[in-house]
Assembly symmetry: C3
Homo-oligomer: 152 residues x 3
Amino acid sequence: MLHDKLAELGLKLPDAPKTVAAYLPAVRTGNLVIVSGQLPLKDGNLIAVGPVPDVTSLDAASEAAGQCVLNALAALGTLIDHDYSRLVRVVRLGVFVASSEAFSEQHLVANGASELMMKLLGEAGRHARTAVGVPCLPLNTSVEMEAMFEVR
Amino acid sequence: MLHDKLAELGLKLPDAPKTVAAYLPAVRTGNLVIVSGQLPLKDGNLIAVGPVPDVTSLDAASEAAGQCVLNALAALGTLIDHDYSRLVRVVRLGVFVASSEAFSEQHLVANGASELMMKLLGEAGRHARTAVGVPCLPLNTSVEMEAMFEVR
Amino acid sequence: MLHDKLAELGLKLPDAPKTVAAYLPAVRTGNLVIVSGQLPLKDGNLIAVGPVPDVTSLDAASEAAGQCVLNALAALGTLIDHDYSRLVRVVRLGVFVASSEAFSEQHLVANGASELMMKLLGEAGRHARTAVGVPCLPLNTSVEMEAMFEVR
């Protein structure tokens, strides 16, 4: 189903993020998979850098949050043999938004992630979520998203 | 017991937060319940906005953290039929405090949440905790709190 | 093995952090242990305060992240009778770096934690990770790290 929905939306999962030095893209413990903070990398490039909304618009940041979702699903895939029928549900998303002074719409940026999860996974895509502002992020990305999944 | 303690303190749980578009107030996976980042909403209004301590005092922010606790317990309730005898313990609180420049007492703000959990739940209310400063939060709230509970 | 590796690196675990008022250094739920946000305390003093890199250098902050690892392992120890053969793996590290304006190398600070976990624990030390920038932290620490472990 995930791949049908991706095709319908004209999207595809990237290759799984490479294993970085001393940490992993995702770890499984029991039926939980914890995915590392994902940046909005697409074909090797960050699609949104700098604080929102002064440097990156709210719309662009929201789209970047969607890219983090694709990357998180790709990272998850490595631990379930890319068989997404083993995904029971998205449990939690944590969204960090690089924010210009007094920006207070981090939830709208995070909706770009939440809504894509719903479109791709339906009921299984509904999750708990925390969205907060931060002053700056690794590699100057505008948004970073971590995730927790339940798998079988 | 929770309801006795609430009455004793002159508090009551709010209605559970409404389901928001693409994410849920809380999700259960196994015996864990993950509660979304809660804002200090009371009767539909934020009781603390702006950075601490320049706009909102430390005391007001600490009280607001307590309101987040009530909202988190209400969100939890929806997943355990409001039967709090099924709550085994609070596992973790994550507290984000909108902070004025160089503010370094986020732990004191978070104590407003931790101490209320203890008062309401006794030993079952003791938890692991992370408290950090952020520049700004959704809707300009002064504090946001996420939670993890163990239930039976 | 942990104690051999510690000795090899000239390190030792501190005493477990004291129980603080209303929250605990670590909580176990099922086979998971959640460790509270750890500060780089060594012999009772913070070894890195203020934002990175303007006040604390990247190298000093990275070393401080390693101290957080030692403190997190000490906190974990209290829940497994200090028998680290019961540690199955590190599941997740969350690293918060107090950041000077536009600092974008939080991941390099966090590597100080990740690499020490690997040195101490080998494969069991590899984890998922989230690293973000924040403007300020409790007690003006430069870095704070929370952790999730799987135990048996």
